[in-house]
Symmetry: D2
Subunit: 339 residues, 4 copies
């Protein structure tokens, strides 16, 4: 049994991670930590866990103690905090899967520009792997430090990769993305109150969302050249899920069948990627509570319209993290994730 | 034109009050105050008011200044704060309509028990009128200090009054009430986040809700004796509305037609109370965004089941406040409230 | 492997059943039938099943063919239809788990009164077992015909049983229940449109809901005498879950701790029943997507207030059906249901 | 008083229209007709109208009778039905405001292509005016037959017009629109059930929505040349509102302030159009239940991102219809629409 600890257990991603780990046949949860007033049983915070997980959630991170009883540590912490804690675990030769952005951007200058803080862990940043499983499987197998991708980037990079790789589309993307509210985290804010979100819909951080450089970095690696990205996220009155509508300009005419074929050949045997038939589109409920990314494709004149859906807390966070754990630890990649 | 000021303009009740006052032909809004970081135009806070209300919202209560340009002041403030501010306005002979509980409970001991603070304005408490318009119209006409009823009490006292008065039911009520989330106010709390409320439903403050003594006080006045109340409020994943399901034990058998008749005779010409046909029940959407209280009645063996619905922000707060203003100031009672 | 077939696979209960059966290690789904225009792969109807279940859903019930490749048949059919189909399977010595009300009411006169149709399968009705697992485990083990309980009855009988059995409460219950919309099934009706249900809340079938006789039948069996029930169901703008607020009049004063103790001793080792601490209450999200029934208890003067929550599609339908299957077939009772 | 009749009174647009007409000081509702089983008082269908509108809703269209007691007839009917009824009213010299698409497309060939039926009223089609008030005010004043614009077109043409007119953007638009569910009408369909729409989000009719030719027709009239449009509508789990995110490619660099200035100069004194400050964006709640169209603008490199919001039932249907009525009949344009 792999001993795993979760630091940041009481956010939405942390909660979802526990849900998956509870049913994982090869993982044993050994430590829980969260920013709470006082330590208490985790099921006082999440009553649904009663009888399923009987474990104390601590309110302080005792790194040495945790390391002693852990093979792998999940950090579900805010940006800026992870890079202060991850190095100690890494120095003790423990595997780390980090949910924050701290180890995602390879260029610390970019990090500092978007997150407005100095990067404090540049030596480990070099060794970190951006954990988009379908694109980085071989590197993931070998890494000790896994930067788990952001939710929007997961839902956007996966469907764009085949087409940028194919050379058939202009390197200038318009991405109109729509997310449920759990993506904003379990933090208090007037803007996230039920009475504010319900019966409402809005664009936010238009052209300025911090996931932008992460998407660009990965897509440029695939395209092997500069790309342009206009990224407009929106907030949907639902709890979970991200749907991204992506507009790619075709360099030449292709049929929708060719387009579907390109995507299917790019992902020939992926257990969590499902390409729909031509002109069919996925919806959030097709992937809710699952680790799938479903993709629909249409050719509309000069434009390729690609729609992807993921559950932001599963494939966009905790599910992908466990998928990464499975790869890093030599388990079957789909373990605890398919059913 | 009546000059009115609103203190506490940025809560949900304050916002709804402005919506009604904007369309009131006899009222002119002269001052707005709210607990905000810095003074700013009200439509920076509520963009929907742009072009409809161009007024600065101050972040400090300058009582003297406000009094000079006001005939009537609405206090949409938290409990405990109102009783510190109302006396000054009253001493300057301004009319006050208070949304808080501070002047609702006639017995300061009860107030101190339920709100856990000493009552600081007992002299004015004696003169305040509990503003349930349909039951206190004559007193409302004459008062300078109006205690606007709570949302649950409005939806519960109105449908119970005819039956307690009739003497046909036992003085022991079971009230199972369900409220939308705006009733909890525009305050930050993890429990009120969209992701917590959505796809959820719960009972809360079972048997301990602070509206209990207010309901009991008014119903005992009607019944002219002690009554028992088991009151269980619930939170519904919707923004607005309260539906109360009330179980009253019949002392003797009556038909549903007799029961409907009792209610209709009790409220013969009320513009905002609508008693449904026997065995028909109202739903929230029948009264949403209106000042109506709709009531449905059924006899189920020994029990009388009464269902009432109101919009918690209108009849349960701002609408009733304006109805009270209309009565206090000699306007047509339905002004700005019917259409 | 147990070969199971699902007739009525495309309703909400049928869909949920497939979700559980897909992950059941001892069950193999062999036939799917539904009322659809033409036979098609099940994942054309439910795209989320793509790659998880590749099976044709037929639009006709070929009883003989199905029987040949089935050990157990789930009937997720409307009332009145089940009793026409179940007998053939039973005559072929196949186990049947029926989701409808057809085999729940032991008295066919009651059935005819509430469902307004003659009972056509009285011989099998005698042998059917009402499958409330926690109360009928021994009978369930031996039956070939399992009447899976209704969603409301499950959420109401389970929390009431300990107290009626104890003799401490009057045999006169007030049950104020609130259900999500999936309880109404996947059938077209103006009343179930999103725009009608959203931002709305209502009582319906007040005192006339067809689940009433089923609740009374089971509670009278426990109480061993007549009981009275006032049952008012409500529709909540959420997809899943039932919360029931139950008011029981105490015959004598007891403390809440005694009350909690009664419930816990009644259900000493039940894997799916969780009694909360005194004065703590469960909410829908504690049991959503799970087979748990969580129960909270409070003493309010002369009244015992009991709140229960279940997921109407899991413990209230498909989960309980699989729990029954596990019992009937000698599997571990929690198989496929706990994680 | 203007005598108005509403045919198709029980759909969502019809209901909203009655809500506005009830408060209109110059209109008197004289006839109601709807596709219902039998004639009944309108408040049997919409209980919220009780005491506000006491009128019989007929289930047959008696054209002659209606014409006798009407100055203006609103047709809130499905496409294809309007063109069979409108001519009779027009021949009797009654004004007609049609909510359907039947008189919107000037080219009957286009109509037949998108609506798959022959146009049966070509002579009147020539005289009809496309009633986008802000762009066609002078023609509206004079017409007897007003084609009320579709909801999506209203929210898209208004924000695009200034920029296409300016010549600063390429004539190739990407429009990613998101609508609440009332836009789909009050018709039964599995896809519109609460349990299907709630916690879901999807794109639909990608590139094939029937509002496409209407948007193109009006924008080409403004641009005075061919334009390209990629239009992808989405369904949001909310009842009301449309938010359109529009991507326009700039022919040359301009600042966001110049862009805002262009829009404001294009709409100098419009009572229902509000252009936000540079880089500020509107949300649905800013315009819910109002006749406003709010517009936000940002320059993102080579792209102009424009976000518009409307209430689909008000500015996108009934509100705009009354605005058109006001113009056609010489009333103040904002009558019954501002407060």
């Amino acid at each position: 049994m792999l001993k795993v600890s979760v630091i940041g257990a009481t956010g939405y991603a942390g909660e979802e991670l526990l849900k998956i780990l509870i049913r994982h046949p090869q993982a044993e949860i050994t430590n829980l930590v969260a920013k709470i007033e006082r330590s208490c049983p985790i099921n006082k915070i999440f009553p649904w866990m009663t009888t399923l997980l009987e474990l104390e959630c601590k309110n302080k991170i005792e790194v040495e103690d945790i390391a002693k009883t852990s093979d792998l540590i999940f950090l579900a912490l805010p940006h800026r905090v992870s890079m202060e804690i991850a190095p100690t675990f890494l120095n003790l030769e423990k595997k780390v899967i980090d949910f924050s952005a701290d180890y995602r951007l390879k260029d610390p200058i970019e990090y500092e520009k978007w997150y407005e803080v100095k990067h404090k862990s540049k030596e480990f940043l070099k060794d970190s792997v951006y954990g988009l499983c379908e694109l980085k499987r071989e590197e993931i197998k070998k890494t000790m430090l896994l930067a788990n991708p952001g939710c929007y980037p997961t839902g956007i990079i996966l469907p764009c990769a085949p087409f940028l790789k194919s050379g058939l589309v202009e390197p200038e993307l318009i991405v109109d993305a729509k997310s449920g509210t759990s993506g904003a985290g379990r933090t208090v804010s007037i803007n996230l109150l039920f009475s504010e979100v319900n019966e409402n819909f809005k664009a936010y951080k238009v052209g300025t969302h911090q996931h932008t450089p992460e998407i660009v970095q990965e897509l440029e690696e695939i395209y092997q050249d500069k790309i342009g990205l206009t990224f407009v996220p929106h907030l949907v009155p639902m709890s979970r899920g991200i749907l991204s509508t992506i507009y790619l300009k075709l360099k030449k005419n292709i049929s929708v069948f060719e387009a579907v074929d390109i995507a299917r050949k790019f992902y020939p045997d992926e257990p969590f990627i499902r390409i729909k038939e031509a002109d069919e589109f996925p919806q959030i409920k097709d992937v809710a509570y699952s680790n799938f990314c479903d993709i629909g494709i249409k050719v509309a004149g000069k434009w390729l319209v690609v729609v992807s859906v993921i559950d932001n807390l599963v494939k966009g966070a905790a599910g992908q993290a466990v998928q990464n754990m499975n790869i890093m630890c030599g388990f079957k990649e789909t373990m605890a994730l398919l059913k």
